[in-house]
Subunit: 305 residues, 2 copies
Protein backbone atom coordinates (compact mmCIF):
# COMPACT_ATOMS: atom_id res chain seq x y z
CA UNK A 1 0.00 0.00 0.00
CA UNK A 2 1.70 3.21 -1.10
CA UNK A 3 1.81 6.09 1.33
CA UNK A 4 -0.47 8.60 -0.34
CA UNK A 5 -1.20 10.91 2.55
CA UNK A 6 1.77 13.26 2.31
CA UNK A 7 0.81 16.88 2.05
CA UNK A 8 1.19 18.27 -1.48
CA UNK A 9 4.08 20.72 -1.66
CA UNK A 10 2.87 22.48 -4.75
CA UNK A 11 -0.38 22.12 -6.66
CA UNK A 12 -0.87 23.86 -10.00
CA UNK A 13 -4.42 24.62 -11.12
CA UNK A 14 -5.35 25.50 -14.70
CA UNK A 15 -8.61 27.40 -14.39
CA UNK A 16 -9.33 28.97 -10.99
CA UNK A 17 -13.11 29.24 -11.34
CA UNK A 18 -15.86 27.28 -9.63
CA UNK A 19 -14.32 23.82 -10.04
CA UNK A 20 -10.61 24.60 -9.68
CA UNK A 21 -11.21 27.25 -7.03
CA UNK A 22 -13.37 24.98 -4.87
CA UNK A 23 -10.71 22.24 -5.12
CA UNK A 24 -8.09 24.74 -3.96
CA UNK A 25 -10.16 26.01 -1.04
CA UNK A 26 -10.95 22.49 0.13
CA UNK A 27 -7.34 21.25 -0.09
CA UNK A 28 -6.21 24.27 1.91
CA UNK A 29 -8.87 23.80 4.56
CA UNK A 30 -7.81 20.16 4.91
CA UNK A 31 -4.19 21.23 5.33
CA UNK A 32 -3.35 18.98 2.40
CA UNK A 33 -1.26 21.49 0.43
CA UNK A 34 1.54 23.97 1.08
CA UNK A 35 1.31 26.16 -2.00
CA UNK A 36 -1.21 26.52 -4.80
CA UNK A 37 -0.28 28.24 -8.02
CA UNK A 38 -2.96 29.36 -10.46
CA UNK A 39 -2.69 29.67 -14.21
CA UNK A 40 -5.24 30.47 -16.89
CA UNK A 41 -6.39 32.62 -19.75
CA UNK A 42 -8.00 35.35 -17.67
CA UNK A 43 -5.59 37.53 -15.72
CA UNK A 44 -8.57 39.14 -13.97
CA UNK A 45 -9.78 35.77 -12.67
CA UNK A 46 -6.29 34.87 -11.46
CA UNK A 47 -5.95 38.14 -9.59
CA UNK A 48 -9.40 37.74 -8.07
CA UNK A 49 -8.50 34.19 -6.98
CA UNK A 50 -5.32 35.52 -5.39
CA UNK A 51 -7.26 38.22 -3.53
CA UNK A 52 -9.79 35.65 -2.32
CA UNK A 53 -7.03 33.43 -0.96
CA UNK A 54 -7.90 30.63 -3.36
CA UNK A 55 -4.36 30.53 -4.76
CA UNK A 56 -1.02 31.61 -3.31
CA UNK A 57 0.61 32.78 -6.51
CA UNK A 58 -0.01 33.31 -10.21
CA UNK A 59 2.15 31.59 -12.81
CA UNK A 60 3.03 33.61 -15.87
CA UNK A 61 3.33 30.55 -18.12
CA UNK A 62 2.34 26.88 -18.20
CA UNK A 63 6.03 26.03 -17.83
CA UNK A 64 6.35 28.10 -14.68
CA UNK A 65 3.11 26.67 -13.32
CA UNK A 66 4.06 23.02 -13.50
CA UNK A 67 7.70 23.41 -12.44
CA UNK A 68 8.19 21.53 -9.16
CA UNK A 69 4.44 20.79 -8.90
CA UNK A 70 3.59 17.41 -7.45
CA UNK A 71 -0.02 17.72 -8.70
CA UNK A 72 -1.52 19.56 -11.68
CA UNK A 73 -5.30 19.94 -11.97
CA UNK A 74 -6.83 20.96 -15.29
CA UNK A 75 -10.14 22.63 -14.48
CA UNK A 76 -10.84 24.37 -17.78
CA UNK A 77 -13.60 23.64 -20.36
CA UNK A 78 -12.85 20.20 -21.84
CA UNK A 79 -12.16 21.54 -25.34
CA UNK A 80 -9.05 23.28 -23.93
CA UNK A 81 -7.56 20.09 -22.44
CA UNK A 82 -5.43 19.21 -25.47
CA UNK A 83 -3.87 22.67 -25.75
CA UNK A 84 -3.10 22.78 -22.04
CA UNK A 85 -1.51 19.33 -22.08
CA UNK A 86 0.51 20.29 -25.17
CA UNK A 87 1.78 23.36 -23.35
CA UNK A 88 2.95 21.48 -20.25
CA UNK A 89 4.18 18.20 -21.77
CA UNK A 90 7.79 19.33 -22.38
CA UNK A 91 8.05 20.67 -18.82
CA UNK A 92 6.55 17.81 -16.82
CA UNK A 93 8.96 16.25 -14.38
CA UNK A 94 8.55 12.46 -13.97
CA UNK A 95 7.21 12.87 -10.44
CA UNK A 96 4.40 15.26 -11.33
CA UNK A 97 0.88 13.79 -11.46
CA UNK A 98 -1.60 15.45 -13.80
CA UNK A 99 -5.35 15.11 -13.37
CA UNK A 100 -8.42 16.91 -14.67
CA UNK A 101 -12.01 17.69 -13.71
CA UNK A 102 -13.69 17.43 -17.11
CA UNK A 103 -17.29 16.30 -17.50
CA UNK A 104 -16.34 13.97 -20.36
CA UNK A 105 -13.55 11.43 -20.28
CA UNK A 106 -13.06 9.60 -23.61
CA UNK A 107 -12.16 12.83 -25.43
CA UNK A 108 -9.90 13.91 -22.56
CA UNK A 109 -8.09 10.56 -22.66
CA UNK A 110 -7.70 10.86 -26.44
CA UNK A 111 -6.26 14.35 -25.99
CA UNK A 112 -3.89 13.09 -23.30
CA UNK A 113 -2.67 10.23 -25.49
CA UNK A 114 -1.90 12.63 -28.29
CA UNK A 115 -0.36 15.32 -26.16
CA UNK A 116 1.54 13.36 -23.55
CA UNK A 117 2.94 10.38 -25.45
CA UNK A 118 5.26 8.49 -23.12
CA UNK A 119 4.18 10.69 -20.21
CA UNK A 120 0.59 9.42 -20.47
CA UNK A 121 1.15 7.27 -17.35
CA UNK A 122 1.33 10.50 -15.32
CA UNK A 123 -2.21 11.53 -16.31
CA UNK A 124 -5.03 10.26 -14.07
CA UNK A 125 -8.39 11.43 -15.51
CA UNK A 126 -11.14 12.33 -13.04
CA UNK A 127 -14.53 14.04 -12.83
CA UNK A 128 -15.99 15.48 -9.63
CA UNK A 129 -19.81 15.32 -9.80
CA UNK A 130 -20.61 18.73 -8.44
CA UNK A 131 -21.48 22.11 -9.83
CA UNK A 132 -23.46 25.30 -9.54
CA UNK A 133 -25.03 27.63 -12.09
CA UNK A 134 -22.43 30.25 -11.16
CA UNK A 135 -18.92 30.51 -12.56
CA UNK A 136 -15.65 32.19 -11.71
CA UNK A 137 -13.51 32.42 -8.57
CA UNK A 138 -16.33 34.12 -6.60
CA UNK A 139 -18.47 31.02 -7.12
CA UNK A 140 -15.89 28.71 -5.52
CA UNK A 141 -17.05 27.01 -2.31
CA UNK A 142 -14.90 25.24 0.26
CA UNK A 143 -17.54 22.53 0.68
CA UNK A 144 -18.61 22.09 -2.95
CA UNK A 145 -17.38 18.48 -3.02
CA UNK A 146 -18.40 17.33 0.44
CA UNK A 147 -20.42 14.14 0.11
CA UNK A 148 -20.29 14.32 -3.69
CA UNK A 149 -18.87 11.64 -5.97
CA UNK A 150 -15.53 12.01 -7.70
CA UNK A 151 -15.17 9.52 -10.54
CA UNK A 152 -11.65 8.42 -11.49
CA UNK A 153 -11.32 6.79 -14.91
CA UNK A 154 -7.85 5.34 -14.50
CA UNK A 155 -5.79 4.33 -17.51
CA UNK A 156 -3.93 1.03 -17.97
CA UNK A 157 -0.76 3.16 -18.06
CA UNK A 158 -1.37 4.66 -14.59
CA UNK A 159 0.41 3.23 -11.57
CA UNK A 160 -1.50 2.51 -8.37
CA UNK A 161 0.36 5.08 -6.32
CA UNK A 162 -0.55 7.96 -8.65
CA UNK A 163 -4.20 6.89 -8.78
CA UNK A 164 -4.27 6.64 -4.99
CA UNK A 165 -2.73 10.10 -4.73
CA UNK A 166 -5.45 11.66 -6.90
CA UNK A 167 -8.10 9.80 -4.95
CA UNK A 168 -6.58 11.09 -1.70
CA UNK A 169 -6.71 14.68 -3.01
CA UNK A 170 -10.44 14.40 -3.75
CA UNK A 171 -11.06 12.67 -0.44
CA UNK A 172 -9.44 15.65 1.27
CA UNK A 173 -12.15 17.74 -0.44
CA UNK A 174 -14.80 15.51 1.12
CA UNK A 175 -15.61 13.57 -2.04
CA UNK A 176 -16.44 9.88 -2.30
CA UNK A 177 -14.31 8.07 -4.87
CA UNK A 178 -15.82 5.95 -7.63
CA UNK A 179 -14.07 4.21 -10.51
CA UNK A 180 -15.40 3.82 -14.05
CA UNK A 181 -13.68 3.31 -17.39
CA UNK A 182 -13.76 6.39 -19.65
CA UNK A 183 -16.34 5.05 -22.12
CA UNK A 184 -18.55 3.77 -19.30
CA UNK A 185 -18.30 7.14 -17.60
CA UNK A 186 -19.36 8.95 -20.76
CA UNK A 187 -22.30 6.61 -21.39
CA UNK A 188 -23.56 7.09 -17.83
CA UNK A 189 -23.30 10.88 -17.87
CA UNK A 190 -24.75 11.14 -21.37
CA UNK A 191 -27.92 9.62 -19.89
CA UNK A 192 -28.23 11.33 -16.51
CA UNK A 193 -26.59 14.71 -17.14
CA UNK A 194 -25.69 15.61 -20.71
CA UNK A 195 -28.97 14.64 -22.36
CA UNK A 196 -31.09 16.40 -19.69
CA UNK A 197 -29.09 19.58 -20.37
CA UNK A 198 -29.74 19.29 -24.10
CA UNK A 199 -33.45 18.63 -23.46
CA UNK A 200 -33.79 21.64 -21.18
CA UNK A 201 -31.99 23.95 -23.60
CA UNK A 202 -34.17 22.65 -26.44
CA UNK A 203 -37.40 23.36 -24.56
CA UNK A 204 -36.53 26.93 -23.64
CA UNK A 205 -35.23 27.57 -27.15
CA UNK A 206 -38.43 26.14 -28.65
CA UNK A 207 -40.63 28.36 -26.50
CA UNK A 208 -38.46 31.46 -27.03
CA UNK A 209 -38.83 31.09 -30.81
CA UNK A 210 -42.62 31.17 -30.75
CA UNK A 211 -44.47 34.32 -31.73
CA UNK A 212 -46.29 34.46 -28.41
CA UNK A 213 -43.21 33.61 -26.33
CA UNK A 214 -43.81 36.52 -23.95
CA UNK A 215 -47.26 35.24 -23.02
CA UNK A 216 -45.92 31.73 -22.53
CA UNK A 217 -43.11 32.83 -20.25
CA UNK A 218 -45.56 34.97 -18.30
CA UNK A 219 -47.44 31.85 -17.20
CA UNK A 220 -44.44 29.59 -16.65
CA UNK A 221 -44.23 28.68 -12.96
CA UNK A 222 -42.11 26.72 -10.51
CA UNK A 223 -42.30 23.39 -12.36
CA UNK A 224 -40.93 25.04 -15.49
CA UNK A 225 -38.31 26.83 -13.43
CA UNK A 226 -36.92 23.61 -11.98
CA UNK A 227 -37.19 21.67 -15.24
CA UNK A 228 -35.17 24.33 -17.05
CA UNK A 229 -32.73 25.28 -14.30
CA UNK A 230 -29.89 23.47 -16.10
CA UNK A 231 -30.63 25.54 -19.22
CA UNK A 232 -29.20 28.44 -17.20
CA UNK A 233 -25.75 26.80 -17.43
CA UNK A 234 -22.91 28.13 -19.58
CA UNK A 235 -23.66 27.53 -23.30
CA UNK A 236 -19.94 27.38 -24.12
CA UNK A 237 -19.20 24.76 -21.51
CA UNK A 238 -22.16 22.62 -22.55
CA UNK A 239 -21.44 23.03 -26.24
CA UNK A 240 -18.00 21.54 -25.51
CA UNK A 241 -19.43 18.68 -23.46
CA UNK A 242 -22.06 17.95 -26.11
CA UNK A 243 -19.48 17.80 -28.87
CA UNK A 244 -17.04 15.79 -26.80
CA UNK A 245 -19.66 13.20 -25.91
CA UNK A 246 -21.84 13.38 -28.99
CA UNK A 247 -21.75 9.67 -29.82
CA UNK A 248 -23.07 8.59 -26.43
CA UNK A 249 -25.51 11.51 -26.46
CA UNK A 250 -26.88 10.49 -29.86
CA UNK A 251 -27.60 7.03 -28.47
CA UNK A 252 -29.40 8.47 -25.46
CA UNK A 253 -31.26 11.03 -27.55
CA UNK A 254 -32.50 8.32 -29.91
CA UNK A 255 -33.59 6.15 -27.00
CA UNK A 256 -35.44 9.12 -25.51
CA UNK A 257 -37.15 10.22 -28.72
CA UNK A 258 -38.33 6.61 -29.17
CA UNK A 259 -40.08 6.88 -25.79
CA UNK A 260 -41.57 10.23 -26.86
CA UNK A 261 -42.87 8.57 -30.02
CA UNK A 262 -44.59 5.90 -27.91
CA UNK A 263 -46.16 8.59 -25.74
CA UNK A 264 -47.20 10.56 -28.81
CA UNK A 265 -49.06 7.52 -30.13
CA UNK A 266 -50.77 7.12 -26.76
CA UNK A 267 -51.91 10.75 -27.03
CA UNK A 268 -53.23 10.21 -30.56
CA UNK A 269 -55.10 7.10 -29.40
CA UNK A 270 -56.20 8.69 -26.11
CA UNK A 271 -54.70 5.57 -24.53
CA UNK A 272 -55.35 6.15 -20.84
CA UNK A 273 -53.59 3.02 -19.61
CA UNK A 274 -50.59 3.59 -21.86
CA UNK A 275 -50.04 7.14 -20.62
CA UNK A 276 -50.58 6.23 -16.99
CA UNK A 277 -48.24 3.24 -17.33
CA UNK A 278 -45.33 5.44 -18.40
CA UNK A 279 -46.08 8.18 -15.88
CA UNK A 280 -46.48 5.70 -13.02
CA UNK A 281 -43.29 3.82 -13.92
CA UNK A 282 -41.38 7.09 -13.93
CA UNK A 283 -42.86 8.33 -10.68
CA UNK A 284 -42.10 5.02 -8.95
CA UNK A 285 -38.51 4.90 -10.27
CA UNK A 286 -37.88 8.47 -9.20
CA UNK A 287 -39.36 7.82 -5.78
CA UNK A 288 -37.08 4.80 -5.31
CA UNK A 289 -34.08 6.81 -6.48
CA UNK A 290 -34.78 9.67 -4.04
CA UNK A 291 -35.30 7.16 -1.22
CA UNK A 292 -31.94 5.54 -2.02
CA UNK A 293 -30.21 8.94 -2.03
CA UNK A 294 -31.74 9.86 1.30
CA UNK A 295 -30.77 6.52 2.83
CA UNK A 296 -27.18 6.97 1.62
CA UNK A 297 -27.04 10.51 3.01
CA UNK A 298 -28.35 9.28 6.34
CA UNK A 299 -25.74 6.52 6.45
CA UNK A 300 -23.05 9.07 5.63
CA UNK A 301 -24.17 11.42 8.40
CA UNK A 302 -24.07 8.52 10.82
CA UNK A 303 -20.48 7.74 9.95
CA UNK A 304 -20.88 4.88 7.51
CA UNK A 305 -19.42 5.11 4.04
CA UNK B 1 -69.64 47.96 -10.10
CA UNK B 2 -71.17 45.05 -8.21
CA UNK B 3 -70.44 44.69 -4.52
CA UNK B 4 -68.38 41.52 -4.46
CA UNK B 5 -66.72 41.81 -1.10
CA UNK B 6 -69.40 40.27 1.09
CA UNK B 7 -68.17 37.41 3.21
CA UNK B 8 -69.25 34.01 1.85
CA UNK B 9 -71.84 32.41 4.13
CA UNK B 10 -71.23 28.87 2.95
CA UNK B 11 -68.57 27.52 0.62
CA UNK B 12 -68.72 23.89 -0.54
CA UNK B 13 -65.48 22.22 -1.64
CA UNK B 14 -65.34 19.03 -3.69
CA UNK B 15 -61.91 17.57 -2.92
CA UNK B 16 -60.25 18.75 0.30
CA UNK B 17 -56.64 17.97 -0.67
CA UNK B 18 -53.78 20.30 -1.52
CA UNK B 19 -55.72 22.63 -3.83
CA UNK B 20 -59.13 22.67 -2.16
CA UNK B 21 -57.64 22.57 1.33
CA UNK B 22 -55.31 25.49 0.70
CA UNK B 23 -58.21 27.51 -0.73
CA UNK B 24 -60.22 26.79 2.43
CA UNK B 25 -57.39 27.72 4.80
CA UNK B 26 -56.70 30.97 2.95
CA UNK B 27 -60.37 32.03 2.81
CA UNK B 28 -60.68 31.38 6.53
CA UNK B 29 -57.56 33.31 7.38
CA UNK B 30 -58.86 36.26 5.34
CA UNK B 31 -62.15 36.13 7.22
CA UNK B 32 -63.88 35.75 3.88
CA UNK B 33 -66.11 32.79 4.77
CA UNK B 34 -68.42 31.76 7.61
CA UNK B 35 -68.71 28.03 6.99
CA UNK B 36 -66.90 25.57 4.74
CA UNK B 37 -68.38 22.20 3.96
CA UNK B 38 -66.25 19.45 2.45
CA UNK B 39 -67.35 16.65 0.18
CA UNK B 40 -65.44 13.97 -1.69
CA UNK B 41 -64.79 10.34 -2.44
CA UNK B 42 -62.48 9.70 0.49
CA UNK B 43 -64.11 9.73 3.90
CA UNK B 44 -60.65 9.52 5.51
CA UNK B 45 -59.52 12.71 3.75
CA UNK B 46 -62.68 14.52 4.78
CA UNK B 47 -62.26 13.51 8.41
CA UNK B 48 -58.60 14.54 8.36
CA UNK B 49 -59.57 17.90 6.84
CA UNK B 50 -62.14 18.37 9.60
CA UNK B 51 -59.52 17.56 12.29
CA UNK B 52 -57.08 19.99 10.71
CA UNK B 53 -59.65 22.78 10.76
CA UNK B 54 -59.66 23.02 6.97
CA UNK B 55 -63.42 22.44 6.80
CA UNK B 56 -66.18 23.00 9.32
CA UNK B 57 -68.40 20.10 8.36
CA UNK B 58 -68.63 17.09 6.07
CA UNK B 59 -71.50 16.74 3.63
CA UNK B 60 -72.86 13.25 3.14
CA UNK B 61 -74.02 13.90 -0.41
CA UNK B 62 -73.46 16.37 -3.24
CA UNK B 63 -77.01 17.58 -2.71
CA UNK B 64 -76.36 18.32 0.95
CA UNK B 65 -73.04 19.99 0.10
CA UNK B 66 -74.40 22.56 -2.33
CA UNK B 67 -77.60 23.34 -0.46
CA UNK B 68 -77.50 27.02 0.56
CA UNK B 69 -73.90 27.37 -0.66
CA UNK B 70 -73.06 30.71 -2.23
CA UNK B 71 -69.86 29.27 -3.74
CA UNK B 72 -68.94 25.74 -4.84
CA UNK B 73 -65.31 24.90 -5.67
CA UNK B 74 -64.51 21.72 -7.59
CA UNK B 75 -60.95 20.78 -6.67
CA UNK B 76 -60.89 17.17 -7.86
CA UNK B 77 -58.91 15.65 -10.77
CA UNK B 78 -60.31 17.13 -13.99
CA UNK B 79 -61.68 13.81 -15.27
CA UNK B 80 -64.18 13.86 -12.38
CA UNK B 81 -65.59 17.30 -13.21
CA UNK B 82 -68.44 16.03 -15.37
CA UNK B 83 -69.66 13.51 -12.79
CA UNK B 84 -69.53 16.09 -10.01
CA UNK B 85 -71.41 18.67 -12.06
CA UNK B 86 -74.01 16.03 -13.00
CA UNK B 87 -74.47 15.24 -9.33
CA UNK B 88 -75.06 18.83 -8.25
CA UNK B 89 -76.94 20.24 -11.24
CA UNK B 90 -80.45 19.36 -10.02
CA UNK B 91 -79.74 20.90 -6.62
CA UNK B 92 -78.12 24.21 -7.61
CA UNK B 93 -80.02 27.24 -6.46
CA UNK B 94 -79.91 30.17 -8.92
CA UNK B 95 -77.75 32.22 -6.56
CA UNK B 96 -74.99 29.62 -6.16
CA UNK B 97 -71.79 30.24 -8.12
CA UNK B 98 -69.76 27.19 -9.16
CA UNK B 99 -66.08 27.38 -9.99
CA UNK B 100 -63.22 24.90 -10.36
CA UNK B 101 -59.45 24.67 -10.02
CA UNK B 102 -58.66 22.33 -12.90
CA UNK B 103 -55.38 22.53 -14.83
CA UNK B 104 -57.23 22.27 -18.15
CA UNK B 105 -60.15 24.40 -19.20
CA UNK B 106 -61.58 23.42 -22.61
CA UNK B 107 -62.56 19.96 -21.38
CA UNK B 108 -63.97 21.39 -18.16
CA UNK B 109 -66.07 23.87 -20.11
CA UNK B 110 -67.33 21.07 -22.38
CA UNK B 111 -68.25 19.04 -19.31
CA UNK B 112 -70.03 22.03 -17.79
CA UNK B 113 -72.00 22.66 -20.97
CA UNK B 114 -73.18 19.08 -21.03
CA UNK B 115 -73.90 18.79 -17.33
CA UNK B 116 -75.33 22.18 -16.47
CA UNK B 117 -77.42 23.13 -19.50
CA UNK B 118 -79.32 26.31 -18.68
CA UNK B 119 -77.35 26.68 -15.44
CA UNK B 120 -74.08 27.06 -17.35
CA UNK B 121 -74.07 30.79 -16.60
CA UNK B 122 -73.45 29.94 -12.94
CA UNK B 123 -70.17 28.17 -13.73
CA UNK B 124 -67.03 30.37 -13.76
CA UNK B 125 -64.01 28.21 -14.73
CA UNK B 126 -60.68 29.03 -13.09
CA UNK B 127 -57.18 27.65 -12.57
CA UNK B 128 -54.87 28.70 -9.74
CA UNK B 129 -51.23 28.34 -10.88
CA UNK B 130 -49.80 26.76 -7.76
CA UNK B 131 -48.96 23.31 -6.56
CA UNK B 132 -46.65 21.06 -4.65
CA UNK B 133 -45.49 17.49 -5.13
CA UNK B 134 -47.52 16.49 -2.05
CA UNK B 135 -51.20 15.67 -1.99
CA UNK B 136 -53.99 15.35 0.54
CA UNK B 137 -55.28 17.60 3.34
CA UNK B 138 -51.92 17.49 5.18
CA UNK B 139 -50.28 19.13 2.17
CA UNK B 140 -52.64 22.14 2.26
CA UNK B 141 -50.93 25.47 2.98
CA UNK B 142 -52.59 28.71 4.02
CA UNK B 143 -50.22 30.70 1.79
CA UNK B 144 -50.08 28.39 -1.24
CA UNK B 145 -51.67 31.02 -3.48
CA UNK B 146 -49.97 34.15 -2.19
CA UNK B 147 -48.40 36.01 -5.12
CA UNK B 148 -49.42 33.24 -7.55
CA UNK B 149 -51.60 33.71 -10.61
CA UNK B 150 -55.21 32.57 -10.74
CA UNK B 151 -56.49 32.39 -14.31
CA UNK B 152 -60.21 32.84 -14.89
CA UNK B 153 -61.51 31.65 -18.25
CA UNK B 154 -64.90 33.30 -18.16
CA UNK B 155 -67.70 32.12 -20.41
CA UNK B 156 -69.95 34.33 -22.56
CA UNK B 157 -72.83 33.06 -20.38
CA UNK B 158 -71.28 34.35 -17.13
CA UNK B 159 -72.41 37.64 -15.65
CA UNK B 160 -69.90 40.21 -14.43
CA UNK B 161 -70.94 39.97 -10.81
CA UNK B 162 -70.32 36.21 -10.62
CA UNK B 163 -66.93 36.52 -12.32
CA UNK B 164 -65.98 39.34 -9.94
CA UNK B 165 -67.09 37.22 -6.97
CA UNK B 166 -64.80 34.32 -8.02
CA UNK B 167 -61.95 36.76 -8.62
CA UNK B 168 -62.52 38.23 -5.17
CA UNK B 169 -62.34 34.77 -3.59
CA UNK B 170 -58.94 34.08 -5.17
CA UNK B 171 -57.75 37.57 -4.27
CA UNK B 172 -58.61 36.79 -0.64
CA UNK B 173 -56.18 33.86 -1.02
CA UNK B 174 -53.47 36.29 -2.15
CA UNK B 175 -53.63 35.38 -5.84
CA UNK B 176 -53.27 37.75 -8.77
CA UNK B 177 -56.11 37.46 -11.26
CA UNK B 178 -55.52 36.89 -14.98
CA UNK B 179 -58.06 36.30 -17.73
CA UNK B 180 -57.66 33.98 -20.72
CA UNK B 181 -60.14 32.18 -22.93
CA UNK B 182 -60.31 28.40 -22.33
CA UNK B 183 -58.51 27.40 -25.55
CA UNK B 184 -55.85 30.05 -25.06
CA UNK B 185 -55.35 28.87 -21.51
CA UNK B 186 -54.91 25.28 -22.62
CA UNK B 187 -52.42 26.22 -25.37
CA UNK B 188 -50.31 28.23 -22.92
CA UNK B 189 -50.21 25.54 -20.26
CA UNK B 190 -49.59 22.77 -22.77
CA UNK B 191 -46.32 24.57 -23.57
CA UNK B 192 -45.09 25.69 -20.16
CA UNK B 193 -46.47 23.02 -17.85
CA UNK B 194 -48.11 19.97 -19.42
CA UNK B 195 -45.41 19.20 -21.99
CA UNK B 196 -42.57 19.60 -19.45
CA UNK B 197 -44.34 17.07 -17.22
CA UNK B 198 -44.62 14.60 -20.10
CA UNK B 199 -40.94 15.15 -21.00
CA UNK B 200 -39.78 14.59 -17.43
CA UNK B 201 -41.88 11.43 -17.02
CA UNK B 202 -40.54 10.15 -20.37
CA UNK B 203 -36.92 10.65 -19.36
CA UNK B 204 -37.19 8.84 -16.03
CA UNK B 205 -39.20 6.07 -17.67
CA UNK B 206 -36.59 5.72 -20.42
CA UNK B 207 -33.75 5.42 -17.92
CA UNK B 208 -35.67 3.09 -15.62
CA UNK B 209 -36.23 0.66 -18.52
CA UNK B 210 -32.54 0.29 -19.30
CA UNK B 211 -30.67 -2.81 -18.19
CA UNK B 212 -28.12 -0.77 -16.26
CA UNK B 213 -30.69 1.59 -14.75
CA UNK B 214 -29.28 1.12 -11.24
CA UNK B 215 -25.85 2.35 -12.32
CA UNK B 216 -27.37 5.31 -14.11
CA UNK B 217 -29.46 6.39 -11.14
CA UNK B 218 -26.41 5.98 -8.90
CA UNK B 219 -24.65 8.80 -10.76
CA UNK B 220 -27.65 11.07 -11.26
CA UNK B 221 -27.08 14.31 -9.36
CA UNK B 222 -28.76 17.63 -8.57
CA UNK B 223 -29.31 18.67 -12.20
CA UNK B 224 -31.23 15.46 -12.85
CA UNK B 225 -33.10 15.89 -9.60
CA UNK B 226 -34.43 19.32 -10.53
CA UNK B 227 -35.12 18.38 -14.15
CA UNK B 228 -37.24 15.42 -13.06
CA UNK B 229 -38.87 16.91 -9.97
CA UNK B 230 -42.20 17.21 -11.80
CA UNK B 231 -42.01 13.48 -12.63
CA UNK B 232 -42.64 12.97 -8.91
CA UNK B 233 -46.19 14.31 -9.42
CA UNK B 234 -49.31 12.15 -9.27
CA UNK B 235 -49.50 9.91 -12.39
CA UNK B 236 -53.29 9.78 -12.19
CA UNK B 237 -53.67 13.54 -12.07
CA UNK B 238 -51.25 14.05 -14.95
CA UNK B 239 -52.78 11.24 -17.00
CA UNK B 240 -56.08 13.14 -16.76
CA UNK B 241 -54.51 16.48 -17.68
CA UNK B 242 -52.65 14.89 -20.60
CA UNK B 243 -55.81 13.32 -21.99
CA UNK B 244 -57.90 16.43 -21.41
CA UNK B 245 -55.39 18.65 -23.23
CA UNK B 246 -53.97 16.16 -25.69
CA UNK B 247 -54.62 18.21 -28.85
CA UNK B 248 -52.65 21.21 -27.60
CA UNK B 249 -50.01 18.89 -26.15
CA UNK B 250 -49.57 17.11 -29.48
CA UNK B 251 -48.89 20.46 -31.12
CA UNK B 252 -46.31 21.37 -28.50
CA UNK B 253 -44.75 17.91 -28.55
CA UNK B 254 -44.36 18.07 -32.33
CA UNK B 255 -42.83 21.52 -32.13
CA UNK B 256 -40.40 20.30 -29.48
CA UNK B 257 -39.39 17.11 -31.28
CA UNK B 258 -38.71 19.23 -34.37
CA UNK B 259 -36.20 21.23 -32.31
CA UNK B 260 -34.69 17.98 -31.04
CA UNK B 261 -34.33 16.81 -34.64
CA UNK B 262 -32.41 20.01 -35.47
CA UNK B 263 -30.14 19.48 -32.48
CA UNK B 264 -29.66 15.83 -33.43
CA UNK B 265 -28.47 16.89 -36.87
CA UNK B 266 -26.06 19.36 -35.27
CA UNK B 267 -24.66 16.48 -33.19
CA UNK B 268 -24.26 14.27 -36.26
CA UNK B 269 -22.49 17.11 -38.07
CA UNK B 270 -20.49 18.16 -34.99
CA UNK B 271 -21.89 21.63 -35.74
CA UNK B 272 -20.34 23.73 -32.99
CA UNK B 273 -22.06 26.98 -33.93
CA UNK B 274 -25.43 25.28 -34.37
CA UNK B 275 -25.32 23.70 -30.91
CA UNK B 276 -24.05 26.82 -29.21
CA UNK B 277 -26.67 28.93 -30.99
CA UNK B 278 -29.52 26.91 -29.51
CA UNK B 279 -27.95 26.65 -26.05
CA UNK B 280 -27.15 30.37 -25.94
CA UNK B 281 -30.61 31.38 -27.14
CA UNK B 282 -32.15 29.23 -24.42
CA UNK B 283 -29.84 30.49 -21.69
CA UNK B 284 -30.51 34.12 -22.66
CA UNK B 285 -34.28 33.62 -22.81
CA UNK B 286 -34.31 31.88 -19.45
CA UNK B 287 -32.15 34.61 -17.92
CA UNK B 288 -34.55 37.29 -19.20
CA UNK B 289 -37.51 35.34 -17.89
CA UNK B 290 -36.00 34.96 -14.41
CA UNK B 291 -35.10 38.66 -14.38
CA UNK B 292 -38.68 39.56 -15.28
CA UNK B 293 -40.05 37.33 -12.51
CA UNK B 294 -37.72 38.88 -9.97
CA UNK B 295 -38.62 42.41 -11.06
CA UNK B 296 -42.32 41.57 -10.74
CA UNK B 297 -41.80 40.09 -7.28
CA UNK B 298 -39.90 43.17 -6.20
CA UNK B 299 -42.66 45.45 -7.49
CA UNK B 300 -45.21 43.32 -5.64
CA UNK B 301 -43.28 43.50 -2.38
CA UNK B 302 -43.10 47.26 -2.75
CA UNK B 303 -46.85 47.55 -3.03
CA UNK B 304 -47.31 47.87 -6.78
CA UNK B 305 -49.46 45.39 -8.64
Amino acid sequence: MPNVSNVFKRVAIFGVGLIGGSFALALKKAGAVQHIVGVGRSQASLERALQLGIIDSIATSPEAAVKDADLVLIAAPVAQTKAILDSIQPHLSPTTIVTDAGSTKSDVVDAAKEALGAKLRQFVPAHPIAGRELNGPEAALVDLYVGKKAVITRLPENNDADVARVAWAWQQCGAIIHYLDPAGHDAVFAAVSHLPHLLAYALVDDIARKEHADTLFQYAASGFRDFTRIAGSSPEMWRDITLANRHAMLQELDSYTARLAVLRQHLVNADTAGIEGIYANAQRARHNWISAIEAAEKQQREGGD
